[in-house]
Symmetry: C2
Subunit: 345 residues, 2 copies
């Protein structure tokens, strides 16, 4: 946690005082948000079908305040939900944010958290319309619900892929995972020796971990290109896990070509320095919040050569299974070894 010039205790403010403090900083962007914070529920006028998704972030499980600034945490807690809305090919419109926190946090720390939340709201065009603030015996818990909308014919499910569709991913993968490895290493060094963290040269992968962005630009790009994905998912648990989700939901198999997986040079270097296989980091690392989607072969001409997206494989019939294809053409079974909260602990 960063240092604060002043410290106001939460119990000086009380729950209602805290809610008023948060509400006073919120500016609703959409006329369709009829009523925000301040009644029993928020009210809004829907346009099209609605999508709703929710994610909970728990201190000591999803984040470590030893190296995650609260503003970044607030930002990320919105981004991970916005990313899910985008993965439905919907437009994010509104969020609610609930926070459980202990008295060890001064009001100024909560301000930082909400600064990040509200920055994400501005960047992604979503209105913060409600939430809950309550006490926690120890750790910090953040629960965000995001609501988006789209015309029914625009919605894209995991289940819509067809045999031979191309598998496409936005951006590059594995960076968020490598950023986490660097942060964990420096934390361990600090604990052991008291040495200040050395994070130089790791800007890109640290930003991928600490301040990920949801790919609203990609859904916009696809619309502009006139390409409607047949299936889509966002990468929170790792490429392998998400590709298998699309394959299973669509009743198909999938092949991913190892050499096609987009990996940033700084991710590659960091993986090597940790004696990790870069492809494995991309396949199982997770938290990249890139979009993984399938398009019909006929759409290849429209998407080829675009620097923001990469064709990494294709769908197959169900019996062909889920495979990674190596440079020599060898097949390796894909396994969903992605992040699993229960197995990790």
């Amino acid at each position: 946690m960063s240092e604060h010039t002043s410290r106001t205790e939460l119990n000086e403010l009380g729950e209602f005082g805290l809610i008023e403090r948060i509400a006073s900083r919120v500016r609703l962007q959409h006329a369709s948000s009829v009523k925000g914070i301040g009644d029993d529920a928020a009210v809004y006028e829907p346009r099209g079908h609605q999508v709703v998704t929710t994610d909970m972030l728990v201190e000591g499980v999803h984040f470590d305040l030893g190296y995650v600034p609260l503003k970044h945490l607030g930002y990320k807690s919105v981004v991970v939900n916005v990313s899910d809305v985008l993965a439905m090919n919907a437009v994010p419109r509104r969020i609610t944010v609930s926070v459980a926190l202990s008295n060890r946090f001064p009001v100024e720390a909560i301000d930082e958290l909400y600064e990040g939340v509200l920055l994400a709201c501005t960047n992604y065009g979503v209105d913060l319309v409600g939430g809950d603030t309550c006490s926690s015996p120890s750790g910090l818990v953040i629960s965000v619900t995001a609501i988006g909308e789209a015309a029914p014919e625009e919605l894209v499910y995991r289940s819509g892929a067809r045999d031979n569709d191309l598998l496409v991913v936005s951006g590059d993968l594995g960076g968020a995972f490598m950023g986490l490895q660097v942060l964990e290493r420096e934390k361990a060094v600090f604990k052991e020796t008291g040495a200040q963290p050395d994070l130089t040269g790791h800007d890109y992968i640290l930003e991928r971990q600490l301040k990920p962005e949801a790919r609203q630009d990609i859904t916009a790009l696809l619309q502009q290109l006139g390409v409607r994905p047949t299936a889509m998912i966002d990468i929170s648990d790792g490429l392998a896990s998400e590709a298998i989700h699309i394959a299973r939901s669509s009743g198909l198999g999938v092949r991913i070509y190892d050499e096609k997986i987009p990996i940033d040079p700084s991710t590659y270097d960091a993986a090597r320095a940790f004696n990790l296989d870069p492809s494995t980091c991309a396949l199982n690392g997770g938290e990249d919040y890139e979009l993984l989607f399938t398009v019909a072969q006929a759409d290849y001409e429209r998407i080829k050569g675009n620097p923001s997206i990469t064709v990494i494989g294709h769908m197959t019939d169900q019996a062909s299974g889920h495979h990674l294809v190596d440079k020599q053409g060898g097949l390796h079974e894909l396994r969903a070894q992605g992040w699993d909260a229960f197995l990790r602990r």
Copy 2:
């Protein structure tokens, strides 16, 4: 926690396994719920304006698993959100439920929790369309978001009360608070002496605390009577706090007549046994989840004599302030001493 005949560890199942287990028990009631659990987000077709509300329940703050059965907890976590939707005069339609839990809970305990959630879904006609399950370092945290809908002209805000409107409350008050006192007392006795809890004769107030109901019957009754409240709120923090919310939001004052406050005989007896003033329990106890609303004087004929609702006061001009009127006509300033998570700890 009740005893289980078998114990399945959470990590045998994993997060995806747990989600599948929960999803397999969900039956969507509304055709407008297009897609429930199983994609990046749920999808639904809205009808009318939408309302959204969210509440977080934290172990050790909002509940004590020493005396709260998990099934009741699941039920109550839905009810408190449904109650907020009803307080907007909207119809609850869908919920998401996020749960953070530690490995000390076996899968069977989670089953119990969701049994309560799904029972509430059935009773209140809401679809469980999504959520999140994750690990927690220690305590249990439940975050529920409820979405309802109504035609815009049907919505009732806290701010719509007018001078001279009647202040009306459903059911009776103070019971949930007294139920909590009995549970806390028996817990203390058990800790000290090992004596089994003696809860005989306290059925009503225990049920008020452990298994509250949201007053969907009241919004239906008012519609049937042709009465549209001018303002409405649900009683989660206590009558005094909620009456002041309506008054402040509406730019008015309020008077509540002490002798009119509906209190069940068993609440009254329990309060007396604890040397507490029954009216104070009703004013400041909270968690009753009754509806507090205002109606125009002209509607008095339509509501009078109905056993489910009681006129307890009226709105005044702002300058007259917020007062409780005693039997002798004396005025006592109302204060919002309701439940406040931060002050309590």
